[in-house]
Amino acid sequence: MNLAKRIIPCLDVDRGRVVKGVNFVGIRDAGDPVEVAKRYNEQNADEITFLDITASHEARGTTIEMVSRIAGEVFIPLTVGGGIRSCDNIRALLNAGADKVSINTAAVTNPDFVQEAAERFGSQCIVVAIDAKRVSAEGETPRWEIFTHGGRNPTGLDAVEWAQQMVNYGAGELLLTSMDRDGTKAGFDIGVTRAISDAVSVPVIASGGVGNLDHLVAGVKDGGADAVLAASIFHFSEYTVQQAKEHMAAHGITMRLG
């Protein structure tokens, strides 16, 4: 089995600037997405994901500009998520040099949009982001539901069924975030990762809760994830992406070590 598992650093961007603290030694401007993307590229990141948290609609042009600048200098797959609601949004990002877009809330409010986007641009560039939260009590058969708005709003949708539906609608990949674990540094929710990974035919990216390198190993080995996404452990040079890859490889996981 030669296909490598992937590590994907994730960056929050607002008005074309990296926010939520990235702190690399020797980087002049940690807010410059091009500098940060280059640094991750040097560390052998397999892809980079940008989460656009720009609130105002008018300022979204800055994201397009940012993607265009990065795509001219960093030659690995770039995914952009956050606030994508229309095929026009997608076209603008792809034309700027993004390779995939990640659809989140719009998939829940209008599932047909996923189908339309996949037909128009191809499944290979449509990632559906799934924010799942455990709803079963301790001791019950585990069950997870889809939540929106950062885990505040329940939708009543069963996470595993939803994942299958999104694949049927043309999602080429799923970005699964555990809302129980996000920001906790307690590790991925292995239960939901395994349940969804086993239920769908497309690759699953595990996200939410990474605090150390063993968590990345568990996401792949126990959760069955095809890729792992993490933010803060890489932002502060706690670990480099390359160190994370070597750690995973030492645990028997196929990685691209460069």
Partner: protein
């Protein structure tokens, strides 16, 4: 001196253009203008999405004949990428069977849905991510790239060429040995995305830009 990326309406060509601009001195243009394509010194044939759509869009933009002409020109380097590699074969089993350009004998098939790795994990389709490329025959486009190097793939269908001398690279996925680099004369085509394969991909593009077959 121009490198023309043929724009017949399928997929995102900007990544390819940006990567070529990074390694080439020549002007890089994304075009569907027959005169501009004919006048270019090098040609890139991209392709994304369903192969039936790619073939019918090529037809609709009246570029099928021109592409066949370019393929037959042994002095005009042409690089096929992704579905652009698959389109060079006789036929694909995608979309219920699609006749392709017939430049190389062989066919395009889908990965088996039910494949598992040694640990019993299900292998996902599409085959997405960085996989190893074994250089089956030497080729100027492999220069400076070690065999076994990883490139970035996204595809559910793969090429099986009939003749060994047309196969330049092989990648294993599950029980398949996909012919992920094929070619003849001035044509070289790859299933992976060199424009997204970091240093190795840029090296291959740079080799293409300097290739004089």
């Amino acid at each position: 001196m121009t490198i023309a990326i043929i724009d017949y309406g399928m997929g995102n060509l900007h990544s390819v253009a940006k990567a070529l601009e990074h390694v080439a001195e020549e002007r890089v243009t994304i075009t569907r203008d027959a005169r501009a394509i004919k006048g270019a010194t090098r040609i890139v044939l991209p392709g994304q999405g369903a192969i039936r759509d790619c073939m019918s869009e090529l037809e609709r933009t009246e570029l099928t004949g021109l592409v066949k002409e370019l393929l037959a020109d042994a002095n005009k380097p042409l690089l096929g990428i992704c579905v652009g590699q698959q389109m060079l074969m006789d036929k694909s089993e995608e979309n219920g069977g699609v006749r392709c350009l017939g430049y190389l004998p062989g066919r395009v098939s889908r990965f088996n849905a039910d494949m598992h790795d040694a640990q019993g994990e299900r292998l996902k389709v599409p085959h997405m991510g960085w996989n190893q490329v074994h250089q089956h025959h030497m080729h100027p486009l492999w220069e400076g790239i070690p065999t076994g190097e990883r490139f970035y793939f996204v595809h559910s269908y793969y090429v099986a060429a009939e003749r060994d001398e047309h196969v330049f690279g092989i990648t294993e996925y599950g029980d398949h040995r996909a012919h992920i680099a094929t070619g003849r004369d001035a044509v070289f085509a790859v299933q992976f995305h060199p424009e997204k394969s970091a240093g190795a991909g840029l090296k291959l593009l740079s080799n293409f830009v300097h290739w004089s077959p």
